[in-house]
Amino acid sequence: MNDILSVNHLSIGFDHSYGHTSVIDDISFNIEKGQTLCIVGESGCGKSLTSLAVMGLLPSGGRIHDGQIVYKGQDISRKSQKELSEIRGKEISMIFQEPMTALNPLHSIGYQVSEVLRVHQKVSKHEAKEKAIEMLRLVGIPSPEKRFAQYPHELSGGMRQRVMIAMALICHPGLLVADEPTTALDVTIQAQILELIQNLKSQFDMALLLITHDLGVVSETADKVVVMYAGQVVEYGDTKELFTEPKHPYTKGLINSIPKMDEDTEVLPTIKGSVPSPDEMPMGCRFVTRCPFAMEICSKIKPPKITDGHEVHCWLYSSEDVKGENPSVDKV
């Protein structure tokens, strides 16, 4: 067992007065020690929710209906908040999308970073301060002694994200969950932060679960990638293979619709329509309403998982003869 985290058949839904909505539907993936796994997908596909579920921080009303989240051999999906609080920040840490709002505006940077140490390790105030300053230096904050006493509003977005990283890594966790950590930042700052995360990852020998919508970021950082659409996994596998040989029509469409830097196209290939709302979710494959290769069976039965090189959830690759139709996949 080399997996540090494995998510098995996870389903998450929201309960409300008129019933419940399923948001995440039966997703599975695993991350090995020291590995980077990216979950990629468009807004509303449930990638953020998945990361929050790993932390045990689902928004109120959200509930894990099924499946397990196994961290270092133990299922953490059924743990109480008290048990989870001993894992969070120490074993699994998280950084968020909005560095501007993720730090408490009324406490100093130093307080917020050293607080993690004081919660998880019995250290003196002085020791905590020293370690915190050390950590701030490690994440590339200039003159950390001075920054220690400053407040979040005195720092730029990039600097705040560094503080978040310092806070997340100060207890040397085995897994870092990063939810769109660079989305709110400019490209040049994004490059800095991604490089920092990569360096610290190898230095601390930790695994990284990176949530992003940016296929470029995925392609450059991930070992493995999960492509999600409307709460389901559509494709999952080794990054290089998945990007050079995407199989699912959604993945292909996604890759094609990005304007390219190295070629000129007059008209961008698009995916028609938009993601269906939760109450209009199709019965079978959730992508059927937008898929250029939709077949009859697609709208009726959930597509099977097909592992051929990497995992894809699509009827096109099914060996079963689907009603005699067997469209040529190459044309996709």
Partner: protein, 298 residues
């Protein structure tokens, strides 16, 4: 300065939020809705009482009956009689007229002056807004409103009409502030920029685009202020500067009863109870409107 707000989870959250809200709504929201409906029903009841007072009141509210002085509640006089032998129930029914009238007219005055001033001030900003309107409202808000209303009423001379004018003027700065604040908030929204970029006239942007968007908070505030105005009129009347006898007013009745609290507590308890019920039901109703308008806006 419109910074590029990148895509992704902001939108995601927007999609999750409604679910979250609905979940929280389930119990306490339902309860609150019920309360709001109860409040609304009582408000309607009050209006009916006020409008049909002459038909509903069992006695003439001003007719003195020295044989019936300070009678406790009974089958004929449900709420008892007062120091002059007048039927308390009838006086309370007619008192509803005074209270509602005071509440609606004084808030009406405040609305008519406050909203246009506040909107213009907030929309055009500049010297008038910053140095005149804002500072003057600041100064007006420094006075305890009841004290200011008392003084104004005293200077104008004690009467219901003057009390309403005084209360209306005292409430005006709140509406100026509210309308201005709401307009400022709307101005920051891009649809106003878009309307300007479309070449629409300022007046039309204010009336057709901004005004409908600030109406909700204004209605809520106006409703809640009707409740405050009812208390204010009752307070003025209690202190002798509002409605003048023999017109029945809840506040004045309370004041009359205070001296007889040990032998005839009903004289002060019933009018007070009605003020309390009227105010709480208007407040609950206002909160209901607020909650009802809120999720649609956000």
């Amino acid at each position: 300065m419109g910074e590029p707000q990148l895509q992704s989870e902001t939108v995601n959250r927007v999609q999750i939020n409604p679910l979250r809200k609905k979940r929280n709504k389930s119990y306490s929201k339902l309860m609150k809705n019920k309360l709001a409906v109860c409040g609304g029903i009582f408000v309607v009841l009050l209006v009916v009482l006020a409008v049909f007072a002459p038909l509903l009141a069992p006695f003439d509210p001003t007719k003195q009956n020295y044989g019936q002085i300070l009678k406790p509640p009974s089958a004929t006089h449900w709420f008892g009689t007062d120091t002059l032998g007048r039927d308390l129930l009838s006086r309370i029914i007619f008192g509803a007229q005074v209270s509602l009238k005071a509440g609606l007219i004084s808030v009406g005055i405040a609305l008519t002056i406050g909203i246009p001033l506040g909107m213009i001030s907030g929309y055009f900003r500049g010297f008038w807004d910053e140095f005149i309107i804002m500072r003057v409202t600041d100064a007006m808000l420094a006075f305890p409103s009841l004290v200011l209303a008392l003084t104004l009423a005293a200077v104008l001379g004690p009467s219901l009409n003057h009390a309403m004018i005084a209360i209306g003027l005292v409430f005006t700065p709140y509406f100026i502030r509210l309308a201005r604040g709401e307009v400022l908030a709307q101005r920051e929204r891009e649809y106003v920029s878009a309307a300007r970029a479309s070449g629409l006239r300022n007046f039309s942007i204010m009336m057709r685009h901004v005004f409908p968007n600030i109406l909700g908070p204004l209605i809520v505030q106006a409703t809640l202020n009707v409740a405050s105005a009812i208390i204010a009129e009752a307070s003025l009347s209690y202190l002798g500067l509002g409605t003048q006898p023999p017109t029945p007013s809840w506040g004045a009745m309370l004041a009359e009863g205070q001296g007889y609290i040990s032998q005839a507590p009903w004289i002060s308890i019933f009018p007070g109870l009605f003020i309390f019920l009227a105010v709480i039901s208007i407040n609950v109703f206002g909160d209901g409107i607020h909650d009802w308008l809120d999720p649609k806006l956000k």
